[in-house]
Symmetry: C2
Subunit: 206 residues, 2 copies
DNA sequence: TTACAACTGTAGTGATCGCTACAGGAAAGC
DNA sequence: GCTTTCCTGTAGCGATCACTACAGTTGTAA
């Protein structure tokens, strides 16, 4: 069934164990933050001893960085990008905003953990935080490119401003959803956000 | 000089000690989150023994709740509300947004700690988190009233939506400032946010 | 002077922290 | 069979955790 992966076979339940450890970690970290994520609790939740965790991951920092990485991958996978060539700019921006919103609903861990790490400003940077900021920087560039393409009238400073506002809106709406729960319609709010961005772009273009 | 406060005089450096403890706590909590805030570290930073901390505060939960409370008070104090009767609605909304922005620049701890606590979803609610959510609910109602007053054409559902969007924008822009530091002009972004809200209100009124 | 309330300092409690040493089991290759 | 590699289980390291008991100090009021 599952034959050779690379030259060397994967043994027993190593892959499965790694997955279980990451599942437990994302759960604990989402509840208690970076410092609150204790190896003992993760061990209890995933049913594997601490030594297994330390066999798969160098240390706690490495573990949490791996969680961020996997969560981001899942979020990206949930993001089915809209067709690049369809409809008006307005329709395309709205479409993109809705895609982002549904991806956040499907895979919220990435942004939740990322924001938690971001708000903490400890002297020694956890590598998970650094990783989140890199991903975010990447997203920033992508969105900036999109604005530059859709709104040719914008000067670079305006594109920067608008991009920052766009990402901030996404963060804030996500937080609102985390607080408000089912009472908050994230997709509708992102649609509104797209509208707002469009109007702002028009204002800044003039 | 400082005579009777209530009937009983305040002794020695109790008030001063309480202040130093809270100062140290806000610093530590901002760096390391709720779980990461250890009494030993707070004790070291403020130069007072743990027993003093426990004399002033019931437990760690109580301490952090007090920090949130004081931080909110300071933020409110930094918020010099605009004159209720001056200018067009647009000018008044923009003015308010700028006031909120500068207050956040002057007293950022409140929102930072609040958001950190908000994103954590531990089974047993820390009272600090509850306190933040109450304050936020209060702010929500105030902003909703403002929208209802300035934009009479909005139906209640639209007011709710817009208010959620307004608060989310504030949260997100604050996070952007925390990440971007000096590269982010918070006041300018809040001005943009006011503009966006105005345009959205117009769209939702029609 | 006495009495008391308001703090501070010392010295711990048992529990939990991140992490490690190391023996052993289970599957794959020889 | 034997070895090698992968992974788990047990036990425990020193450090730190939240918190407390309690004696000591000090300003104020009677």
């Amino acid at each position: 069934m599952d034959d050779d992966r690379n030259t060397r076979r994967r043994r027993a339940n190593g892959e499965e164990s790694r997955r279980r450890i990451l599942d437990a970690t994302v759960e604990v970290a989402g509840e208690r933050g970076y410092e609150g994520t204790s190896i003992a609790l993760v061990s209890k939740r995933c049913g594997l001893p601490a030594s297994s965790i330390y066999w798969h991951f160098k240390d706690k920092d490495d573990l949490i960085a791996a969680v961020i990485e996997r969560s981001f991958g899942r979020w990206l996978a949930a993001l089915t990008l809209p067709d690049d060539s369809a409809g008006t700019p307005m329709a395309r921006v709205t479409m993109l905003a809705q895609q982002v919103a549904t991806a956040l609903l499907e895979a919220p861990d990435f942004l939740r953990l990322g924001l938690m790490l971001t708000l903490e400003r400890r002297p020694e940077e956890p590598s998970a935080r650094t990783m989140f900021l890199q991903v975010r920087e990447f997203a920033h560039r992508r969105v900036a490119d999109m604005f530059a393409e859709f709104m040719p009238g914008l000067d670079p400073a305006a594109v920067q401003l608008l991009t920052t506002y766009a990402l901030a809106g996404a963060d804030g709406l996500f937080v609102a959803k985390e607080i408000g729960g089912d009472g908050v319609d994230l997709v509708r709010l992102f649609e509104l956000h797209a509208l707002a961005l469009f109007d702002l772009a028009a204002r800044l273009s003039s």
